[in-house]
């Protein structure tokens, strides 16, 4: 009964990430210009878009690694504009992040990597730390690899260990940065299943940045498609497939040419070929 009331309570709460009128530029080049995005609590939300649209930058803005030029970002009720370093670190304890290549600490073995946040932030007795770490490793299927060094793991395994490390502090938000890059179909299936299972079993909110349309469509509850610094489409994966927009059709269908041109801007082809310049 208590868990039910908690569930209802959570659903009624404000969205976990709320971005309003976000603008951000790097060395004069505008990445986002008036971006609006509301990420609901308790769901798997995918952020998709062609390479170079600033998906990773968006994650860095949401996690406070960089600050926006203008606009507001609210994460779990905290305003990222005014949050100081200490507040930011407190907030980050409620977040887990999976980096593209796992980013495991190379001087620690798998067990110690997963135990790292616990050892840094808690005074738990060794026995409890062991149990917690083994539970999280079991959840990603790598309890047997606890004694291995990060260099002995395959790409998919590193990412699963990093996932275990990301959930060891029981975060509210779990952020995945391109979790499918360079994985074989089996590892990919494992990661996909973990994203869904962890989200539902641990009652957290997942934000997945990816450009793998087919893969992410199988697990995401809703999708934001970014292009040119704006949200060009939002909805469920099914809605996106029949979205009345050229850019969405190009992206979802994987077409080589369209609103995102095949050719990088260049002078006229024949003029350049026939010009005498060496």
């Amino acid at each position: 009964m208590r868990s039910l009331t908690r569930h209802i309570h959570l659903n009624q709460e404000a969205p976990i990430v709320e971005i309003r009128g976000l603008s951000y530029a790097v060395s004069g080049r505008s990445i986002f210009d008036g971006l609006d995005m509301v990420i609901p609590r308790g769901r798997v939300t995918a952020v998709m878009g062609p390479s170079g649209t600033g998906k990773t930058t968006l994650l860095r803005l949401i996690t406070g690694q960089v600050r926006a030029d203008s606009g507001s970002i609210q994460v779990a009720g905290e305003d990222m504009r005014t949050l100081r370093r200490a507040g930011l670190y407190t907030l980050r304890r409620r977040m887990g992040m999976l980096f593209q290549n796992g980013a495991l600490l190379t001087d620690l073995n798998v067990f110690e990597n997963v135990a790292f946040p616990l050892r840094e932030h808690t005074d738990l007795p060794e026995r409890l730390i062991r149990q917690l770490v083994l539970m999280k490793l079991q959840a990603v299927g790598l309890r047997g690899a606890a004694e291995l060094a990060p260099s002995e793991l395959s790409g998919g395994m590193s990412r699963r260990v990093a996932l275990a490390r990301a959930i060891v502090m029981d975060p509210e938000i779990l952020i995945y940065d391109e979790p499918f890059v360079g994985l074989d179909p089996i590892s990919l299936g494992v990661i996909l299943r973990l994203i869904r299972r962890l989200n539902d079993a641990l009652g957290l909110t997942s934000i997945v940045v990816s450009h793998d349309v087919q893969e992410i469509s199988t697990v995401a509850d809703n999708v934001f498609l970014l292009s040119g610094g704006k949200v060009v489409a939002r909805g469920t994966p099914q809605e996106l497939r029949s979205y009345p927009s050229e850019i969405v059709r190009q992206f979802v269908g994987g077409l080589a040419d369209g609103p995102v041109p095949f050719h990088f801007p260049a002078p006229d082809y024949f003029t350049e070929l026939l010009s005498r310049r060496e």
């Binding site: 996690t63 690694q65 670190y89 407190t90 980050r92 304890r93 977040m95 887990g96 992040m97 980096f99 593209q100 290549n101 980013a103 495991l104 600490l105 190379t106 790292f116 946040p117 840094e120 932030h121 990093a162 490390r165 502090m169």
Partner: protein, 255 residues
Amino acid sequence: MNVIKELWRSLIDALVGLGAVVRFLLRLVMLTPSALLRFDLIVAQIFNAGALSLVIIMLSGLFVGMVLGLQGFQLLQRFGSEESLGVAAAIGLVKELGPVVTALLFAGRAGTALASELGLMRATDQLSAMEMMAVDPIKRVVVPRFLGGVIAMPLLAAIFSLIGIYGAQLIGVQIMHVDSGSFWSQMRAGVGLGDINEGIVKSCIFGVACSLIAVWEGYYAVPTAAGVGRATTRTVVTSAVVVLFLDYLLTAAFL
């Protein structure tokens, strides 16, 4: 007084040029008290920077001492004062060669290891991952490595001097037949506490300089293969120049 003023001014100029490095150092120092609570991390780094450099330090110390023994014997023999070999070698080692050569070797062995390790951690997102886990990488990774180097350096320099004196004795007493009694007694009479102090102060300061340069170059390395390589090279080059420059300043200050 004028000399000191001049030195002070050049020191200030150098410090202004290295303003960012100094701010970084201040940050390291401010974080030191809390880092000392995790002494196991520092011990691991003392092992990395110190114990793993022992072989190269001891070998170099032995050879430098043996060369000092040969050269010193040749020179002193001309004035018929071979017995002073002990004090000459000891002063040379304790005040100059010990701290300086150890610092140069340290930069080459431990400094490059530190810089490339930190650079690679940056390049593989390990430092960002720590920040995302609400762990300050400067406090958790940089400060223990810095302190490990600072603590290891004077110990290494002491070992270097010790082995060096043994090397000089090996050549002077065992091979060139300098009288053993006068070798040691002249050394005991001629080397004062001030000389040893000078050596300790120098090696401590070189330890701070070399470790600081290594962690600075590594932490702010461009996160690419080429960037890490450049950081490693710059660690050695900058450390060597800074150590020799500081050695001049310190020697002058101790006069």
